[in-house]
């Protein structure tokens, strides 16, 4: 499989704190790739660098063979990277449908086309029945799904999901897992997800990268990673194995 995203030696410093420290990894096309690690490990900072919110202090990010580090977020999105926010940010006073139409309009000029596409995406994410509601009136799990829908509507090649399962009940988690797996299988969409819910990570990911203090402490197949001593010590704890 060819490489879709290649991160080489990127770092990000916030005043004294080195949030991401010379990090490198590759995500193959069509993969589901998980990034895990304790709070403050630098996961969201990593996403923000890929998505163009921060320019890395050093290192390169290559997407589909082109360098993208330092591009603005809108340009990164145009190149084919969609993202969600850990702290959700849908457009509150717009309806669910209009939120997703905004995303769909990125590569469509007509609102009619965009609406049709938006409704398809909403069906996929079980939000079709709520399409007329204001985004601000949704529950947190629904808002998280709405963000996924909005990002998906921009027709990304790569989707960055920052803790979309946090705060969900197990049945809701299973549903999102099923939706993401289906998307990945049917459309070939590559997904990088940050997640604390190990049940979802194990069910989805082909590869896991474990970060701690901005550095990788393990990377590989899920089974190997969760049995890694360093990972257990610094993040999972022994009970995760049971």
């Amino acid at each position: 499989m060819s490489t879709l995203l290649k991160v080489e030696g990127i770092s990000k410093r916030f005043r004294g704190l080195l949030a991401v420290d010379r990090l490198s990894f590759e995500v193959p096309k069509g993969a589901i790739f998980a990034v895990i690690g304790p709070n403050g490990a630098g996961k969201t900072t990593l996403f923000n660098m890929i998505a163009g919110v921060y320019t890395p202090d050093g290192g390169t990010i290559t997407f589909r063979g082109e360098r993208i580090e330092g591009l603005t977020p809108d340009k990164v999105c145009r190149r084919g990277i969609g993202r969600t926010y850990q702290i959700v940010r849908p457009f509150p006073a717009l309806s669910v449908e209009d939120n997703v139409i905004v995303g769909a309009l990125l590569h469509r000029n007509g609102v009619v086309d965009a609406r049709a596409h938006a409704l398809d995406v909403l069906r996929r994410l079980d939000l079709y029945d709520k399409r007329a509601q204001l985004a601000s009136s949704l529950t947190l799990p629904d808002r998280k799904r709405l963000e996924v829908a909005r990002a998906l509507a921009t027709d990304p090649k790569l989707l960055l999901l920052d803790e979309v399962m946090a705060g969900l009940r197990p049945t809701e988690t299973d549903r999102i897992v099923a939706i993401l797996r289906e998307l990945n299988r049917e459309t070939g969409l590559t997904i990088v997800l940050i997640e604390h819910v190990m049940r979802a990570v194990m069910a989805l990911a082909g590869q896991i990268l474990v970060l701690n203090h901005g550095k990788p402490i393990a990377q590989g197949e899920p089974q190997a990673v969760v049995h890694d001593k360093a990972v257990i010590d610094s993040y999972l704890g022994a009970e995760a194995l049971s």
Partner: protein, 336 residues
Amino acid sequence: MTMLGRLIDGVSVRVLILLGVLAVALLIAPLIAGDYLLTVLILILYFAYIGQAWNIMMGFAGQLSLGHALYVGLGAYTAAALYVHFGIGPWLGLLVAVPVAALAGAFIGFLAFRFKVGGVYFAILTIAVCEFARVGFDHLAWTRGSSGLFLPVSQYSGNDLWHLRGRPVMFYYILLAATALAFVGCRALLQSRIGYFWRAIREDEEAARSTGIDTFHYKMIAVVISASMTSFAGVIYAFYYNNLFPEQVFHISRSIEIILGPIVGGVGTLFGPILGAFVLTGLAEILNNVLAALGIDLPGAKQVFYGICLLFVIMALPDGVWPWLARRMGLSERSK
């Protein structure tokens, strides 16, 4: 879908009826209204039109301008000066006045959006540029500085539409046409791609960027359209009042006047600026008459009463009168 079909797509029958009644009422109003009422209606349409233009920036794209008098003034002064100095009529003058205002808007937008001047600081920048223009025009000999620029006036028997020389009723119909066009144009904008992007920016600029929207580009378009539209009202202002003083035209109270209508009517709604203009101008005139009838002649009494009424409306209906009225009348309204 046809152009018309798209414009009225999703609009309820009740709203269409309301629009029809309003249109007919405004069309025949001059036949019934006396001279006094006509001048009040002209004022209302003037504020409805400019309110609509201001609303594009604030209500649609979320950019607060507190200096819209700048665009009124630039439009007014450009067209008036061209007329006084070269005999160039207002409609040709528009071809210069609108680009001048658009450039001023682009200048403010560029400064603010390139250097990330947002929120309150953006609003202050708009005030500052307008103040700068006020002082500048005070000293600009070409437009007669602070002694004022006057357009030649005489008694008009007929209405010369081409030179905008005529009786108030002519200005009434011009402003009515402009307000109607602005209303339809804003609806079209709001429903188009750009309208979706504007609202996304208004709601959350960072999220809009990460959804692929070039926010700089779309904010610039909002400022330029708003400034251009506003300058047209300035041209009409110049030829209606026939005198321009920098201290009046560019005064900050003028900018505030412009934004009160849409705020009271409902920011971001299409009916808000129109309704707000009716409510505010109507209120001011009623106060005038009541105070006169009661024989109260205290300086500032009108302003105080006006302020109290305004305060009451804003406290009772923080989203504006239109959203409340639309609910009361069973017109489901969202972003209309």
